[in-house]
């Protein structure tokens, strides 16, 4: 498959936005609010593009994406804390933490994928929702301590007996406290670029075509010999791994993290980014994630009414994006261009 210039445009825009923000920051023209939101925006962007891989490209609705973010946040941060003395350079420590977070989230994605990916549609959505809640409950009751004798884990009660020279890192409902803030905007930017490269290459590859074939008609795909479970798993695990890295990036931007942060609402928030940005449209997800993260803060001056207005704006955006006129406008581009990522069945039929 020929690489779409659309992909390059996405890269260029992300790099451009990063460069513009760096220049603004260097000139001191960014407000404290904006500077504080740079890393969370990066994390949410990665969350959105990774969920878009599951929802837009694979075509399965996942309602537990925050669960993988949680796995990454807790295990990635724990790794960073455990390595605090061994690896003094923050950048290296952050990289290791993000990789560990991605690996654990991928493992969680694989384990959850085994039962979940045998289901379809609504059933899959409900089961992923349940798994998201289970992950939250586990981290709410998990105790993890590290000392000279190694790593200690216990559930429900703190019976880890972490020695005085060590540190109880995950403290059940109290989550992790005293995190060194090592996440940086540049790290977030690199993570977004890596996510985009991974997703675009996966989607453009042979495997990617198989994944999209499953989305469009899984019976037809199966009849021509596509291994459904394998390709579904491939998309799901990739998506989980990226979410894990995003979670670690997010958590290490704050001095504290609790499991309740990654609840159902967060999963839905990410899904909103994806739906608003357009299923299968990575650039759309990036823009939606950035806009919807900034919006509540930009609305702060109107105090109590801001969440009300936020909801109204959200509804308006959804309505506008689905308006026949706007849709027709966008479809004109789709038919002329190579928007292979647009997962719109009707349109494919129309084109055929």
């Amino acid at each position: 498959m020929k690489k779409s210039p659309f992909h390059f445009l996405t890269y260029i825009l992300v790099i451009g936005a990063y460069a513009a923000l760096q220049v603004l920051q260097a000139r001191g023209e960014l407000s404290a609010t904006m500077r504080g939101m740079l890393v969370p925006i990066c994390a949410y962007v990665v969350m959105a593009v990774s969920l878009n891989l599951t929802v837009g490209v694979l075509g399965e609705l996942s309602l537990g994406h925050a669960g993988f973010m949680s796995v990454g946040a807790f295990l990635g941060t724990s790794t960073a804390i455990a390595l605090q003395d061994a690896v003094p350079v923050p950048g290296v420590r952050l990289t290791i933490a993000l990789i560990v977070a991605a690996l654990f989230a991928a493992l969680a994605g694989f384990l959850i994928g085994i039962p979940v990916l045998r289901l379809n549609g609504d059933y899959l959505a409900i089961v992923t929702l349940a798994f998201g809640e289970i992950i939250k409950a586990v981290f709410n009751n998990l105790y993890l301590g590290v000392d000279s004798r190694g790593v200690h884990i216990s559930l429900l009660e703190d019976v880890t007996n972490t020695a005085k020279d060590g540190r109880l890192i995950i403290q059940g409902p109290m989550g992790i406290g005293g995190i060194q803030k090592i996440s940086t905007f540049t790290a977030g930017f690199i993570l977004i670029m890596i996510s985009l490269i991974v997703i675009f290459n996966l989607v453009g590859s042979r495997a990617g075509r198989a994944i999209m074939a499953i989305r469009d008609n899984h019976i037809a795909a199966q009849s021509v010999g596509v291994n459904i479970i394998k390709y579904k798993m491939m998309a799901f695990v990739t998506s989980a791994a990226l979410a894990g890295a995003a979670g670690a990036l997010f958590a290490m931007n704050y001095s504290t993290v609790v499991a309740n942060k990654f609840d159902f609402n967060t999963s839905i928030l990410i899904l909103v980014f994806v739906v608003l940005g357009g299923l299968g449209n990575m650039l759309g997800s990036i823009i939606a994630a950035a806009v919807l993260t900034i919006l509540p803060e930009a609305l702060r001056p109107i105090a109590e009414y801001r969440m009300l207005l936020y909801a109204v704006l959200l509804i308006l955006m959804m309505l506008t994006a689905n308006h026949p006129f706007v849709k027709g406008f966008f479809n004109r581009f789709r038919q002329t261009g190579q928007f292979q990522l647009q997962g719109d069945d009707e349109e494919k039929e129309a084109a055929a």
Binding site: R27, A32, G36, R300, P301, I302
Partner: protein
């Protein structure tokens, strides 16, 4: 070709959105903002043009420089000239909103009183909503920084306070939190102080009370497993209960999702014949527990902590169920003390309800600041870092008399903890009566 056009359009819109929150022309800076200098920011060494950030949000705040207030609240006076910019974050919306609003209202009353008096120190108070979430609290804190906050009231609840206190430590902005009671809030930060006693303190004090006053021999504990506050108190309670030789027969939990039905926990306590049930939690679940226990005919002694404060004024709750409940609280709204009576009357007039300890803590915080700033001869044109240094000195040496705490006044040690001991109260005829 058209596609490129579209993409350029999208790119522009993205840049626009990012830029909208980014830069604003400097001429937007209004007069009061130019007087105050910028908080120092050692955390971002590459930030060379700090004063510009004053202007950042002014484009947005211009139309509405004061935070809008709750509808039932009188609009506060226009920003006082030459006032200290005092900022705080708290849950003004969402599940924990009662605590945030109480602290905010209490602080607002104190600020209005001080500004109306002949005090040399005046305040300009601004509270931002953090919805009891660490991420939003940091955003709220940054918004306050953009506003030009010089001294901070930290955050109202514990987890957000942990996040914002790390920020204010890095930024050298002095912080005095009214009610964030977890030890992690002040740990390792020499400019973060608490107005409330810490969670572990309450657990230990509760167990000591029960032990020394022989209130019960078989103890049941019901606590909220996903709540830092509840967990912190319960852990130290169990430790001290052990030391006091109390027998804890039942240790049951609930969490956010199942905080409506307590029959399992209560039955466990009942079958194990617990004669005292310890409830380290906020008052909404506690009110349900009391009602459900009464319905199943289980009447042990009840012992709560400061989160129980407010149960008597809770709407739809039969206050007679709380008869005989013991609790620890630093503040008694029914006290005959003159200052307290005045505050309670003013609070009831403005907000139509009795103030709880969060409101009293917020009120005390502002007066403590007033006392410290006056004593240090601080002026509003000082920057946040200078005030930070002065406040650290003042708070560790001064004695403050407020609505909460004892006759002898409050003092702070270098860690930022307050010398306030929890007072035991028992609810008798719908009012708190001191236990000793």
């Amino acid at each position: 070709m058209k596609k490129k056009l579209l993409c350029a359009l999208l790119a522009l819109s993205m840049l626009f959105v990012l830029a909208a929150c980014g830069g604003a022309p400097a001429e937007n800076t209004d007069a009061s903002e130019t007087e105050t200098s910028t908080p120092a920011e050692p955390s971002t060494p590459d930030d060379t043009a700090a004063p510009d950030e004053q202007a950042e949000l002014s484009g947005e705040t211009e139309t509405n420089p004061e935070p809008a207030d709750t509808p039932n609240e009188p609009t506060p006076a226009a920003p006082v000239e030459g006032a200290f910019k005092l900022g705080g974050t708290g849950p003004l919306t969402g599940g924990a909103a009662i605590y945030g609003n109480a602290a905010k209202n209490g602080a607002q009353i104190a600020v209005d009183e001080i500004n109306a008096s002949d005090s040399a120190v005046k305040f300009d108070l601004r509270y931002e909503d953090d919805a009891h979430d660490a991420e939003k609290a940091v955003n709220a804190y940054n918004a306050l920084k953009d506003w030009g906050m010089q001294i901070s009231l930290g955050s109202v609840t514990s987890k957000p306070a942990e996040a914002t206190s790390a920020e204010s430590f890095a930024d050298n902005i002095f912080s005095l939190t009214p009610s964030a009671s977890s030890p992690a809030t002040i740990a390792g930060k020499d400019n973060v102080f608490q107005m409330c006693f810490s969670d572990p303190n309450q657990g230990t004090a509760s167990a000591e009370y029960i032990g020394t006053q022989n209130l019960g021999s078989k103890i049941a504990v019901i606590w909220k497993s996903d709540d830092v506050y509840s967990k912190g108190i319960r852990d130290t309670f169990l430790e001290e209960a052990d030391a006091q030789g109390l027998e804890v027969v039942s240790d049951q939990t609930f969490s956010d999702g199942n905080a409506t039905d307590f029959s399992v926990q209560l039955n466990d306590a009942k079958t194990k014949e617990a004669d005292l049930v310890f409830l380290p939690m906020y008052y909404e679940p506690a009110s349900l527990i009391l009602a459900q226990a009464s319905a199943m005919g289980y009447a042990p002694k009840w012992f709560g902590v400061d989160g129980m404060d407010g149960i008597l004024t809770m709407q739809g709750f039969d206050a007679s169920l709380a008869e005989g409940v013991m609790l620890l609280t630093p503040f008694n709204a029914d006290s005959s003390d003159e200052a307290t009576a005045k505050f309670v009357a003013e609070y009831e007039k403005r907000f139509g309800e009795k103030p709880n300890q969060f409101a009293a803590d917020g009120y005390d915080c502002v007066y403590a600041y007033c006392q410290a700033l006056t004593a240090a001869n601080a002026t509003p044109d000082m920057d946040a870092a200078t005030i930070n240094g002065l406040m650290k000195e003042q708070f560790t040496t001064m004695t403050f008399h407020g609505l909460t705490g004892t006759e002898s006044g409050l003092t702070w040690d270098e860690t930022g903890a307050v010398s306030k001991s929890p007072k035991g109260m028992v609810i008798t005829n719908g009012a708190y009566v001191g236990m000793d």
